[in-house]
């Protein structure tokens, strides 16, 4: 699929290993990389090639917790408005969620100055992250250079068990591949389990391929993709799928029925174990949010588990919806009321504590369990704390029990 999409954008057929110049459908950045990108654009002395295909998001440090962040956001805001590009103010949500909701379409090439740009692969787009300078050039020229990646096929078959979600598939996959097992490659998902997943679950799969080093994580677009786009009132659906006889460098088979709820242990995302094998791990903070698992479907699972229950004494729960739409939905269907009633602190849509700058930083010696995607030392803001990763369901069960717990009994 990557070869097909890149080929369409290079104006000729291409194959893995070649370096090509390809046109780009969407370029985006955020408050974390935007100021550096804008200074590189100024250095280049070029304008945006197509402002309508360019978007700026204020999503990382929102609402601005300090002067420096506020100033950075001002740079991004003023530049975007002046250039006539898409602009999404603090509180709108995480760039990747908004790109999925409002921009990305099957068959496109999407570039963002954020490693989790791969998320949009769930809609059948070739989406990849780059740095600020690469993006400045892509925004100015409407194209970029790409090495056409080899593809790893991941085939998931069977039924996911009770309490097992796409996050567990993603963690299992990163654990299997290792943190560089898919370096420079494109991961393509297939199999009946993925076909049956809703887009929200597919977004989690694509989101985490970068944790194995992958350049892109694609899901063929299908009727579910069409349904997702139409539910948002969007046009532009088309089917994008691999050709018969497509070449794969390798195939990884995953039997969904054998997967258990998973946890990534502190320090590296690929250090993954089933919940039942981690022993009694006491948790101080539970965080549900991020571009991996902060969608309405995730919040609903958490609410279902917390409904009629209270947080374990001493455990704090922080929930950060991934977009304003998510928050509005959660208000409408009562999810928010359940979360707050159980004792959750809900923070405005954005990245939250995922990257460690605001919204629930753990104290020295504490353990945080997060529905996010990274657990490197100090990732959640404190080098003296430990970060564990799991699905929203495991997060919720843990918030109730106080130790990392299997959500099965609550569902």
């Amino acid at each position: 699929m990557s070869e097909k999409i890149i080929g369409e954008h290079a104006g000729r057929s291409v194959s893995a290993g070649e370096t090509v110049i390809a046109s780009v459908d969407l370029c985006f950045t955020h408050d974390a990389s935007g100021p550096l990108l804008i200074s590189q654009l100024k250095e280049l002395g070029l304008d945006l090639q197509n402002p309508r295909r360019t978007a700026f998001f204020v999503d990382h440090a929102v609402p601005a917790p300090r002067r420096e962040s506020a100033n950075d956001q001002k740079i991004v805001r003023e530049f975007a408005k002046k250039a006539g590009a898409g602009f999404h103010e603090a509180g709108s949500g995480i760039c990747h969620q908004l790109v999925a909701e409002e921009y990305a379409l099957p068959g496109q090439i999407v570039l963002g100055t954020d490693s989790h740009t791969v998320t949009a692969g769930a809609l059948g787009a070739f989406a990849t992250g780059m740095g600020a300078t690469d993006m400045a050039v892509a925004m100015a020229l409407g194209k970029t250079w790409l090495r056409v990646p080899e593809t790893l096929l991941v085939k998931v078959t069977g039924e996911l068990g009770k309490g097992v979600f796409s996050k567990d598939v993603a963690l299992h996959l990163v654990g299997t591949l290792g943190s560089e097992g898919a370096n420079y490659k494109s991961v393509e998902f297939s199999g009946e389990t993925v076909e049956r997943m809703e887009t929200s679950q597919r977004l989690t799969l694509s989101n985490m391929v970068v944790e194995a080093g992958a350049k892109a994580g694609l899901v063929p677009s299908d009727l579910e993709t069409k349904r997702f786009l139409e539910s948002l009132g969007r046009e532009g659906f088309r089917r994008v799928f691999p050709d018969k006889g497509a070449q794969y460098e390798d195939t990884i088979e995953v039997e969904a029925g054998k997967l258990r709820p998973m946890v990534a242990l502190p320090g590296s995302v690929d250090n993954v174990k089933p919940v039942e094998e981690v022993g009694e791990v006491e948790i101080d903070i539970v965080f549900v949010g991020s571009c991996t698992n902060g969608r309405i479907e995730d919040l609903r699972v958490v609410a279902k588990i917390l409904s009629g229950r209270k947080l374990r004494e001493g455990v704090r729960l922080v929930v950060t919806p991934s977009s304003r739409r998510t928050l509005v939905e959660a208000v409408k269907d009562g999810t928010l009321q359940t979360l707050i009633g159980a004792g959750a602190a809900v923070t405005p849509p954005g990245c939250g504590v995922c990257f460690g700058a605001l919204g629930g930083v753990p104290a020295d010696g504490e353990r945080i369990l997060a529905s996010t995607n990274r657990n490197f030392k100090a990732r959640t803001g404190n080098p003296e704390a430990l970060t564990y990763l799991a699905s929203p369901a495991v997060c919720a069960a843990t918030a109730v029990k106080g130790v990392i717990a299997d959500p099965g009994e609550f569902l």
Binding site: E43, E180, A378
Partner: protein, 166 residues
């Protein structure tokens, strides 16, 4: 291309961009000289205070994994590091380093010791460890990256040519 000369600072595998430019210093991203004071702090606290111009960062596998923050190679370059040597690099970091004009060299760093004196010849693709006397060779960069590095980074490359070409 000129010869690079300096001391080796050894790091392990999987040094992430969070180790290089921690998220808690997010507010310093538009103040790179201040951010650079914390470079690699979560991997080796003695690095930032001790590094001298010309030194090398010498790491294991998968250097620079994680976030796409270009601030990471930028501040490594800013403190005077002349090149990063690693057994392998994460994709985005590799691209970013070349774009900001910081050579990223893939070679077997196992036998390089902490503090060893290294001489790197980018043109010949050779690393000489003057402390242990060994010579390592490394593969040339992909063509487009070599050109970008020769120009001193992607901005200069595009400014000179007005376009991208393979």
């Amino acid at each position: 291309m000129k010869e690079l000369r300096g001391r080796a600072w050894k790091f392990g595998d999987n040094v992430s961009t969070d180790h290089i430019a921690p998220g808690r210093y997010f507010h310093l991203r538009s103040n790179l000289p201040e951010l650079a004071k914390h470079v690699l702090e979560d991997a080796r606290p003695d690095f930032a205070p001790g590094v001298s111009a010309g030194d090398f960062v010498v790491a294991g596998r998968n250097f620079g994994l994680g976030s796409s923050r270009e601030h990471a190679p930028t501040i490594i370059k800013m403190v005077g590091v002349s090149a990063v040597l690693a057994k392998s690099f994460a994709r985005i970091f590799y691209r970013n380093s070349i774009n900001v004009g910081l050579p990223a060299i893939i070679c077997d760093t196992t036998r390089i010791g902490d503090g060893d004196l290294l001489v790197v010849d980018l043109g010949l693709g050779k690393v000489k460890d003057e402390t242990n006397g060994e010579v390592l060779s490394f593969p040339p960069l992909p063509e487009i990256m070599r050109k970008i590095l020769e120009e001193g980074g992607l901005v200069k490359y595009v400014k000179r040519r007005g376009d991208l070409e393979v």
